[in-house]
């Protein structure tokens, strides 16, 4: 089972810590009524089929991921960063874009042009002899 970390690429399942349902992402206030707390902390849809769940890339970049998986076939269909998913709704809520705001995606121009890297071609490797089966 490989989890496609958006930052690290597909990594072995062993690198990740499984938390549980995305219900955990919608925190309710500590003084919310018991039903709301019960729903968020304990009650689960627990679907047989396509689900999303929260995985933490403990053995890698330490990002929290929302993974789309199938709980019957174990197929891993995709993953997104929890942080990115939570930032997106805030940006959409701003109806009129602030002209003073710098666009996030604009790359800063480097002051000094970096020196070109030269990479030496590795020497030809001898072919590894075939091992007996």
């Amino acid at each position: 089972m490989k989890i496609p970390c958006p930052l690290c690429g597909p990594r072995d399942r062993r690198e990740f810590y499984y938390y549980g349902s995305p219900d955990y992402l919608s925190p309710v206030a500590a003084d919310a009524d018991l039903d709301a707390l019960d729903n968020q902390l304990f009650l689960r849809d627990n679907i047989a089929g396509q689900v999303q769940d929260l995985w933490y890339h403990e053995g890698g970049c330490a990002a929290w991921l929302k993974v789309t998986r199938n709980t019957i076939s174990h197929a891993v269909l995709g993953a997104e960063l929890v942080m990115g998913a939570q930032a997106a709704p805030k940006a959409a809520a701003n109806a009129a874009p602030n002209p003073a705001a710098k666009p996030v995606s604009a790359a800063a121009k480097p002051a000094v042009k970096p020196a070109p890297r030269t990479v030496a071609k590795p020497a030809a490797q001898p072919k590894t002899p075939k091992k007996d089966a």
Partner: protein, 416 residues
């Protein structure tokens, strides 16, 4: 038909022509007093004790596959009463007493073998917790012995006492713990319930639960509609799917637990041994295979099979504990669907729907609970009140804060 040694002899002389089917295969009637959804260990024992203890026999047990195809046929067969928390302690103690009379009760050989279960410890702190657990067991009226390293070595010399990563400090021996043949438990309860008039309906999947004005009326199935005054959901890992038919969300997350069996070996492991550090447990069946397992895979799953990381982890734990098994060939591995709760303890309770009952949330410890779960569920359904030893297994205990966190690992479904 009553099984006995005399019958075996007589039938042997008659060419074994007189044996009948262990249970009937009736068609479902349009209505019953009680419908039990799920023909696994707990569903069958519930039906049996409803009939035996409460005289309620107009029951249908609806099993979507064949009797024994669920977790009752997949577990690692451990039977024990070494729980610590009030709420759990008395329940499993009651269950073990039922196990001890089960073969006479069911007139069926379930091969209950009280060979002793030894839990090892690997630090001073862990030894302290075993002492506390042992005292709780003794207070409950069950047996427990706290063993030193030397005492463990004398009884179980083949463990690796040289390894320093998880040194063996000692263990807690529970002599009345042991194993039983899981298939036979299903068959014994099935036959017993059938003999008392319960209809076992196999290959009958429930597809809907009929509720009118908050009262259960019956179920829809692949073999037709069935009306019932009382309906019980006893389907382990599929509890959320069935409860959803009643519009309910449960505090359950379904996970895969893998189990393994090796080729048959000469008797070499005489007890049930539980590793205190790697969550590994092993025993040897009467057929000679080593039966063992470890943790769940830790991600939600309905696949009934797991993945290689946990296979590796279980094998590592086994090799760390008893390197002598290294040459044994693993014949089979499989998985089941575990209904994990936020505190690792089960639910035997009414639901908000009148007449609809729930027995679920056994995590991966349901096999030892089969007798008491059925006993208590039958009591609840027949009388309307929780049995004394199961009264804390409430469905709403997470909401009200009365959790039974036996492992002490906190409120996360996959940590128990």
């Amino acid at each position: 038909m009553r099984y006995s040694g005399l019958k075996v002899l007589a039938e042997g002389l008659r060419g074994n022509k007189g044996w009948g089917a262990a249970w009937r295969k009736p068609d479902p009637k349009p209505e019953y007093d009680v419908v039990i959804i799920g023909g696994g260990g707990h569903g069958l024992s519930t039906a049996y004790y409803l009939a035996k203890n409460h005289g309620i026999t107009n029951i249908a047990v609806l099993e979507k596959g064949y009797i024994g195809s669920g977790n009752i046929g997949r577990n690692t067969t451990i039977v024990r009463a070494n729980y610590y928390m009030p709420g759990n302690s008395e329940f499993y103690s009651h269950s073990l007493k039922l196990w001890e009379g089960l073969e006479s009760e069911l007139n069926y050989n379930v091969m209950h073998s009280q060979r002793g279960q030894l839990v090892l410890c690997h630090s001073d702190g862990q030894r302290d917790t075993l002492a506390r657990r042992g005292n709780a067991m003794i207070n409950q009226g069950d047996d427990a012995e706290l063993w030193t390293r030397e005492q463990v070595r004398e009884e179980v010399p083949y463990l690796d006492f040289e390894q320093t990563r998880f040194p063996i400090y000692g263990g807690l021996m529970h002599w009345r713990g042991g194993t039983a043949r899981h298939d036979a438990v299903a068959w014994g309860y099935a036959r017993g319930a059938d003999q008392r008039g319960v209809d076992l309906i196999e290959n009958c999947e429930v597809t809907g639960i009929d509720i009118v004005d908050g009262i259960v009326r019956g179920v829809q199935t692949t073999r037709g509609a069935i009306r019932a005054k009382k309906v019980a959901i006893v389907v382990a890992g599929r509890s959320s799917q069935v409860a959803a038919m009643a519009g309910m969300r449960l505090p359950i997350e379904s996970h895969v637990l893998q189990a393994f069996v090796t080729e048959g070996l000469k008797p070499v492991i005489d007890h049930v041994i539980s590793f205190g550090m790697g969550h590994f447990y092993i025993s040897q069946s009467d057929k000679g295979g080593l039966v063992f397992g470890g943790d769940i895979d830790f991600y939600a799953s309905y696949a009934s099979r797991g993945n290689l990381p946990m296979v590796e982890h279980v094998m590592e734990a086994g090799m760390t504990l008893m390197p002598m098994i290294g040459r044994a060939k693993v014949l089979r591995s499989w998985g089941g669907i575990m209904d994990m709760t936020p505190d690792g303890s089960p639910i035997i309770d009414k639901t908000p729907v009148q007449g609809l009952f729930l027995d679920a949330g056994w995590n991966y410890g349901g096999f030892k609970a089969v007798p008491a779960s059925g006993w208590c569920m039958a009591h609840l359904m027949a009388t309307g009140h929780s049995h004394e030893v199961a009264k804390r297994f409430r469905l709403d205990r997470f909401r009200t804060g009365h959790t039974l966190d036996e492992e002490g690992t906190g409120s996360q479904h996959n940590l128990h």
